[in-house]
């Protein structure tokens, strides 16, 4: 059974792009575009890797990550954060919140694929 990636992102075109790339690599990609109930979705889906955008409607990616890390049931989940804000402080916030990898938009498709593979192999 193929490994599962959950993508939480609100921009339809980006969802489509990432889904396309990962699917072609053999991943099972689930998507979700609302921040408010993202944590429940993660717990329900139990993905192997989570790709999380920062600017989400309802709840920011940072808050979602913190909640996940505080939850012992799920805190070991590998998380890749994506953000359109490329400043250093954004990366720091993300690392403090406990992400495993951080990528700034726009990204290279190859990098995303490579990172997701690496996270899944952990």
């Amino acid at each position: 059974m193929s490994k599962q990636v959950l993508l939480i992102e609100d921009e339809p075109n980006i969802i489509e792009a990432i889904s396309f790339i990962l699917s072609r690599d053999g991943w099972s990609v689930k998507t979700h575009s609302n921040g408010a109930d993202a944590v429940e979705m993660v717990k329900e889906r139990r993905p192997d890797v989570l790709i999380l955008d920062v600017m989400l409607p309802g709840k920011s990616g940072y808050d979602i990550l913190r909640e996940l890390r505080d939850d012992p049931d799920i805190n070991g989940l590998p998380v890749l954060m994506l953000t359109a804000r490329g400043q250093t402080k954004d990366r720091e916030i993300a690392e403090r919140a406990g992400c495993d990898a951080f990528m700034t938009k726009p990204f290279s498709n190859a990098d995303v694929l490579e990172t997701v593979r690496a996270l899944a192999a952990k």
Binding site: N13, I14, E16, P106, S108
Partner: protein
């Protein structure tokens, strides 16, 4: 030239000289050279007002008749002067701090400002002084007749003429120099200087006669002493009780006589002068009495039997052919007489006008003392009339008594009458328990007994008191015989009257004082008088006293302001039913005043201030006035400070607001940069991702390729739009936009905007309510730009209106010089704290609702400014309401 004419000429010249001296002194005083005028020497010399013509001539007469008894008249004042530290210093301090104007004022002031007491003392003084003035007139006319006897004699008619002219002249002098100004201090520099000069003339005259008698007539000091030994002087006995009585009487008179009180207390300029006067004045008395006995002995020797010893000073030189010396002696007597009349008239007129005329005048005058100038004029007039009246009263008395022998003893009679004031005066100064009723009782008792036992009988038996009373007593009761009250005989009349009047006076005074209670004001004044040295650190020229309420008024005005203070005082005056505008300083009033002042300066300060003026602590009124001034300044200053601090806090508030705005702007700018970054990176992410997919992916269907290419295309366009917006804002802001002005109706512009923005991509339906009939206004403007503004406003309403059924009402109003277009939705409006931010660049009401880059309204405002109009948010309206205003000039130009 006859001797008499020469005499008249000398008198006239002398009087003119006095006028000159007084005038010059007044001028000097006006020029501020008072220090010279008010030296201890002048003060001492002015005290010689005590020595009148009666002492000048009468001392020799007394010595010729009663031996050394005349010395008692000088011993009394000497004792008073020597004990100055104990008594006079206190009296003068009281006089100065209480602003005392006369002995009547002193008594009245001490006993609760009683006007009845003041009037009583005044009447007593007038009754006691009038014969005394008559005595002076008599001495002058007698001395005239002595000279006249040498030539052609002086008829009784002429004597009266001399007396009349003299009275008129003295009245004129006194009016001129005694009522010059209505100074609160009641000081008369000119008069005092004239008195001092006259004192010197008296002394020089008497010394000259004495030296002539000792060395010229007797042939030296030793011979003169032998002569005295040989005369009856050595054998005359002294009656001790009479001596003691006379010394007491003269001491009392020195304190109580209106004229001596005037120079001693009222005219005193400096307390320290007392120190000099305490030895200098006894010295003066000593000098003036030095040659009395030799003159008397020589007079008795050489003058024919039966000649009047009272005139030896004059007749001895005349008899020996020393006309010049006689003239000098005459001038000495003349000086004594005139100075006494002048000062007595001033003192009496002050009392009469202050305590009798003014109260009556104020009582009769309906308006009361409302106008101060009014009162001043009235007081001066009363003063002048009183002077003339007092002098003329003396003249009348002189005419009525027809210069009889009764006058000779009138000096002591007057002394005895005025001595009745002494118990009330001393009691008031040293005994706090003394009350008004006590003083009144004592004075009345003493006065009545003096009147009955001494004054009335002094007119001569059978003149006023019928013979039957003298012989059998009042109502036939023997124990009421005027010369033997309670059956006590063996005393001479003077001692008898003195004993009984003083005894009853003191007993009544003390006993009534003990059984009555003083009023609050009396208590205050008693404390002020008795503890004068605790209350005044130094003698101030003015302070509380009769002017207490005025002082309060002055102080209150400084603190409350004139209008308010006057209103307050008037209110209380009305409440008390007081005449005039000043209330009596009753405890109620003081308490109210304190409260009123307290609201300005604080309760404790107000208490201290009021307490001070009414008799509180050891701070002077002047100090207090300074405090009041300072307080007023401080109030003003603190008001200014308050104003400044208010201004500062206003500025601070503005700064804080500006800072908050800046902070918000800064945060929003950061947020905007993040947003811009996000907005730019998001489409770029899609573009990069799909272009990489297109590049790297094999075996893609044409449909997939086409789809991904169109995504890249759309995202590229999205980027372009964003950049266009930014560019547009920048261009509009910098004023580089080119307006494409053309004609069109407002309706067209709105139609375009509604069709473009009414239905969004998200499908939210916005119900737009318009009134097309009012939109047919032809405009000459850049219609594209105007539409852009409308689109923005409609799009905002669509994006932000939070009503369940969003609805936007667009209303057009045409006014005189402008067109107003309101866009009102039915949502909850914009939060008040965000209202001032919405037109700022990069501003967005909230991240959550944000759909654009936050540039729309900023661009709208810039566009409207360029079009000559405006766009504003109306905070008061229901729902979010934007108002676009176009100048109508634009519309008119289109027609």
């Amino acid at each position: 030239m006859s001797t008499l004419n020469l005499l008249v000429a000398v008198c006239t010249a002398y009087v003119f000289f006095l006028f000159f001296v007084a005038f010059a002194a007044d001028r000097l005083a006006l020029q501020g050279k008072r220090a010279w005028l008010r030296s201890p020497l002048i003060y001492t010399l002015s005290l010689s007002i005590y020595c009148t013509a009666w002492t000048f001539y009468g001392a020799v007469g007394s010595a010729a008749r009663n031996g050394f008894e005349y010395l008692t008249i000088y011993l009394g004042p000497t004792l008073v002067m020597v004990s100055w530290w104990w008594l006079l210093r206190k009296l003068i301090r009281i006089g100065r701090t209480q602003k005392i104007t006369s002995i009547a004022d002193l008594i009245s002031s001490r006993y609760g400002k009683s006007s009845l007491l003041a009037a009583g003392v005044t009447i007593l003084a007038v009754i006691g002084t009038t014969p005394y003035i008559a005595l002076q007139l008599q001495s002058v006319t007698l001395s005239f007749s002595v000279f006249a006897a040498q030539s052609d004699g002086l008829a009784a008619q002429d004597q009266a003429q001399v007396a009349l002219w003299l009275s008129l002249g003295l009245a004129l002098f006194t009016v001129l120099f005694g009522t010059r100004n209505l100074d609160a201090k009641e000081r008369h520099d000119g008069v005092v200087m004239a008195i001092a000069v006259e004192a010197v003339v008296k002394l020089v005259a008497l010394l000259s006669v004495g030296i002539f008698v000792v060395w010229g007539v007797s042939g030296g000091l030793t011979e003169a002493l032998h002569r005295i030994d040989a005369s009856e002087f050595g054998e005359w006995h002294t009656d001790r009780s009479r001596w003691a009585g006379l010394i007491f009487l003269s001491a009392a008179a020195f304190l109580c006589l209106p004229r001596t009180f005037q120079v001693l207390v009222v005219e005193n300029d400096d307390e320290s002068h007392l120190r000099t006067a305490s030895w200098a004045f006894p010295l003066y008395l000593c000098l003036i009495s030095l040659f009395v006995v030799p003159i008397a002995v020589v007079g008795l020797d050489i003058m024919p039997e039966g000649s009047n010893p009272d005139l030896f000073v004059l007749t001895v030189p005349l008899a020996l052919g020393e006309n010049g010396l006689a003239m000098l002696s005459f001038l000495g007597g003349f000086s004594s007489a005139t100075s006494m009349v002048i000062v007595a008239a001033i003192a009496l007129s002050t009392m009469v006008s202050n305590h009798i005329v003014m109260p009556i005048w104020l009582h009769l005058s309906p308006s009361g003392a409302s106008v101060s100038g009014d009162v001043r004029a009235a007081v001066l007039m009363a003063r002048r009339i009183s002077i003339v009246a007092v002098v003329m009263l003396g003249y009348l008395y002189f005419r009525m008594s027809s210069g009889g022998a009764a006058l000779a003893s009138i000096g002591l009679v007057a002394f005895c009458g005025l001595a009745q004031v002494l118990p009330a005066m001393l009691g008031g100064m040293f005994w706090r328990g003394a009350t008004r009723l006590g003083a009144f009782a004592g004075l009345t008792a003493g006065f009545v007994i003096w009147l009955y036992t001494l004054y009335l009988p002094s007119f001569g038996v059978g003149t006023i008191l019928p013979m039957s009373i003298i012989d059998n007593g009042l109502f036939g009761w023997a124990w009421l015989k005027p010369d033997a009250l309670f059956g006590i005989t063996g005393l001479d009349q003077l001692m008898h009257a003195l004993l009984w009047s003083m005894l009853f006076n003191v007993v009544c005074f003390v006993s009534v004082s003990l059984v009555t209670f003083p009023s609050p004001l009396e208590r205050l004044q008693a404390a002020q008088f008795v503890n004068i040295f605790d209350h005044s650190t130094s003698a101030r020229s003015w302070s509380g006293g009769t002017a207490q309420t005025e002082d309060l008024m002055v102080m209150a005005q400084r603190i409350l302001g004139a209008g308010e203070a006057q209103a307050l005082f008037l209110r209380h005056a009305r409440r008390q039913g007081a005449r005039g505008n000043l209330p009596a300083p009753t405890p109620d009033f003081l308490e109210a005043l304190e409260r009123e002042l307290g609201s300005s300066v604080g309760a404790a300060t107000a208490h201290a201030m009021v307490g001070q003026i009414t008799g509180g602590m050891a701070i002077s009124v002047e100090d207090l006035m300074a405090v009041a001034d300072e307080t007023a300044q401080m109030l003003e200053y603190s008001a200014r400070l308050k104003e400044q601090s208010q201004e500062l806090s206003r500025t601070a508030l503005e700064l804080r607001n500006a800072n908050q705005k800046l902070t918000r702007l800064s945060i929003q700018k950061d947020a905007f940069l993040s947003q811009i970054s996000h907005e730019l990176r998001t489409p770029m992410t899609s573009i990069r991702a799909f272009s990489e997919i297109l590049r790297d992916t094999d075996q893609m269907t044409p449909a997939e390729q086409s789809r991904y290419a169109s995504i890249i295309h759309d995202e590229a366009q999205r980027l372009t739009r964003l950049l266009d917006d930014l560019l547009d804002l920048s261009v509009v802001e910098n004023g580089q936009v080119n307006l494409n002005l053309r004609d069109g109706t407002l309706r067209d512009a709105l139609d375009r905007a509604v069709s473009s923005a009414g239905i969004g991509e998200d499908g939210v339906l916005l119900d737009i309510d318009r009134d097309p009939s009012r939109e047919g206004i032809v405009l000459h403007t850049d219609l594209d730009r105007l539409s852009q503004v409308f689109i923005n406003l409609i799009a905002n309403a669509r994006k932000y209106c939070d009503a369940k059924a969003p609805r936007l009402v667009i209303r057009v109003m045409q006014e005189a010089d402008r067109v107003v277009i309101d866009f009102q939705d039915n949502g909850s409006g914009i939060a008040p704290d965000a209202v001032d931010m919405i037109f700022e660049k990069f501003a967005r009401v909230s991240d959550q609702k944000a759909g654009g880059a936050g540039l729309g309204l900023a661009i709208c405002r810039q566009v409207m400014t360029r079009l000559g109009g405006s766009v504003d948010y109306l905070p008061a309206a229901r729902g979010a309401t934007f108002r676009v205003v176009l100048p109508y000039r634009t519309a008119m130009a289109a027609q």
